[in-house]
């Protein structure tokens, strides 16, 4: 009997467990999933909670309900992994030995990493929306908020779902307009990046959307601390941004056991080969989803595409055959724009999000990088797809690798004008960071 242990039963861990169970059942393997509790959260749903869009029972389900029969579920904390003797030490003192290990423990917001955030103003005037509790307390605060400076802030990249802070800003703007108080609120978007987003074409398009909504963009802002008394964000180069209500995205870090086990980088993300997903130093440890350090978006779609690659590679690797699958960094995200519209972006390691169409089977082509109602419906429908198709490991009609079909490459003129990104070389005092 051989043991495959999967640490983390979230989006990535559940998908991998279910796909592997189908392939390995009856072949002498035991699959064990470890997680601390039995609550599986649909994390993309947090975004809508502050605006009364979703309630807790639409977002939280039982973890065990989505894990295939025959997979062993262990509820415990993870103390550390000992790669030398192939053992996982659990919080309760129990141990699990493994032949192969898959780390899928995600990444988490760490408000403790920025001085002043977890002070007297935490969840009074300083909020996060990447936890259900944070999103719920923000919903309560929004009921009282009717004027002042509302600041949306990213502490440091990478963060999970890197478009969510922009979506949140667009939704705040739409929500304020709906309440008729938009002119009583100053909105600012504060980011360590040099623009609204990371890649040039999307950054220009999304930056333009901030401008249209009269949101001040404060870029290249690396936060050093928050002063809760004066209610200001302070950067390392001593700039200040005042707020009445701050919605911050804290530094994201992988699980603490990753650092204790010597398996991660400086943000505790597991160091793996970005194409095979095998650990850079250990031949029997893989990582998948937000937990890894691959330079792709930390998002459910990425975890889904990675899961396909990981399963095939792992099955080949355990039999001593060369791994033939290569992850290309494929990400596919709906970006809520407010007013029941959304954009769709599709990209990978080498190709930035481009305009054009996305050939989705059955539903029909969706517009890329453009606000449409169809994209918004796609985003809402995704919650059902998540629970019923994605987690059970059923096939989705989406290619694992990104395709250029329907995309307008930057060399061909786009159908609709897209602002040219700022390509000024840094040597001439450009605005890139």
């Amino acid at each position: 009997m051989r043991n495959l242990v999967i640490l983390g039963g979230g989006t990535a861990g559940t998908m991998v467990a279910n796909k592997l169970q189908k392939r390995l059942r009856g072949h002498g393997w035991t699959i064990t999933v470890v997680d601390r509790d039995d609550e599986h959260h649909y994390q993309p749903g947090y975004l809508f909670v502050p605006f009364g869009g979703y309630t807790r029972d639409q977002i939280v389900r039982s973890r065990h309900h989505f894990v295939a029969e025959g997979v062993r579920l262990v509820y415990d904390e993870i103390d550390r992994v000992s790669p030398v003797d192939r053992t996982v030490h659990l919080g309760s003192g129990r141990t699990l030995s493994y032949d192969f290990l898959v780390i899928a423990t995600g990444t988490a917001p760490r408000p403790d990493q920025t001085p002043g955030v977890l002070g007297p103003e935490w969840r009074r005037s300083i909020f996060d929306f990447y936890t259900l509790e944070g999103a719920e307390s923000l919903a309560a605060a929004f009921e009282e908020f009717d004027h002042g400076r509302l600041v949306v802030h990213i502490s440091e990249m990478p963060i999970k779902c890197p478009v969510a802070p922009l979506e949140f800003t667009f939704l705040v703007d739409a929500w304020l307009r709906r309440r008729g108080i938009r002119d009583r609120v100053q909105l600012a978007y504060v980011t360590p990046l040099d623009g609204a987003f990371t890649r040039p074409v999307a950054s220009a398009r999304l930056g333009h959307m901030l401008e249209e909504r009269k949101v001040d963009l404060v870029s290249d802002f690396m936060v050093e601390s928050v002063d809760p008394d004066r209610k200001v964000l302070v950067s390392y180069d001593e700039r200040e941004v005042p707020f009445d209500l701050l919605v911050t995205v804290p530094v994201n870090m992988g699980a603490d056991f990753v650092a204790r086990s010597g398996l991660g980088d400086e943000l505790q993300h597991v160091t793996v080969d970005k194409h095979t997903l095998l650990h850079t130093a250990h031949d029997n440890i893989f990582a998948v989803g937000d937990a890894s350090n691959v330079p792709a978006s930390k998002a459910g779609s990425v975890a889904h595409f990675e899961a396909d690659v990981l399963v095939r590679n792992l099955l080949e690797h355990v039999e001593g055959r060369p791994m033939t699958e290569s992850f290309d960094g494929h990400a596919n995200c709906f970006v809520e724009a407010g007013d029941h519209k959304a954009l769709l972006i599709d990209f990978n390691y080498d190709t930035e999000p481009l305009p054009g169409t996305y050939p989705l089977p059955v539903v029909g082509p969706l517009r890329l990088l453009e606000e449409t109602h169809a994209n918004h419906l796609g985003k809402l429908a995704f919650r059902h797809v998540y629970w019923n198709v994605l987690l059970p490991g059923r096939p989705l009609p989406l290619p694992t690798h990104m395709s250029m079909a329907g995309k307008q490459s930057p060399r061909t003129p786009p159908i609709e004008p897209v602002d040219e990104p700022n390509q000024e070389p840094i040597a001439q005092g450009g605005t890139t960071s």
Binding site: E156, M157, P158, P162, P192, L193, D194, T198, R199, D220, M222, E224, Y236, D237, D265, E266, L267, P295, A296, S297, G329, A331, Q423, E424, P425, I426, A427, Q428, G429, G430, T432, S433
Partner: protein, 104 residues
């Protein structure tokens, strides 16, 4: 891919002026690149540049600001003083390395 001439030598750069071949870099190139963005290199600048070059040789990618700070031991505050406004990017530019990928 474009080329630019530095001190009479032709080097390969990307659209933003970053060197695309780290082996075309040397200390004289660094001085010239630094001057182009208004920096005069001190011993402190050089310590950071050398860390970035060494780390790149070992890791195959440019260190992020957090890595320069936690692994290299340079306080972020100092890096902002040495390379104002955009330390990670300016440091990579002067060190003849690709822009740090950090953000996707």
């Amino acid at each position: 891919m474009t080329t630019t001439t530095i001190d009479g030598r032709t080097v390969h750069t990307n659209d933003e002026g970053f060197l695309t071949d780290p082996t075309e870099w040397d200390e004289q190139v660094a001085e010239t690149l630094a001057a182009r963005i208004g920096l005069e290199l001190t011993a402190e600048h050089w310590r950071a540049i050398r860390f970035l070059r060494t780390d790149y040789a070992a890791q195959g990618e440019t260190a992020t600001l957090r890595r320069i700070s936690t692994v290299g031991g340079f306080p972020v505050k100092t890096l902002f003083q040495l390379f104002p406004q955009k330390p990670a990017k300016k440091l990579a530019y002067v060190a003849g390395l690709p822009k740090p990928q950090g953000c996707v």
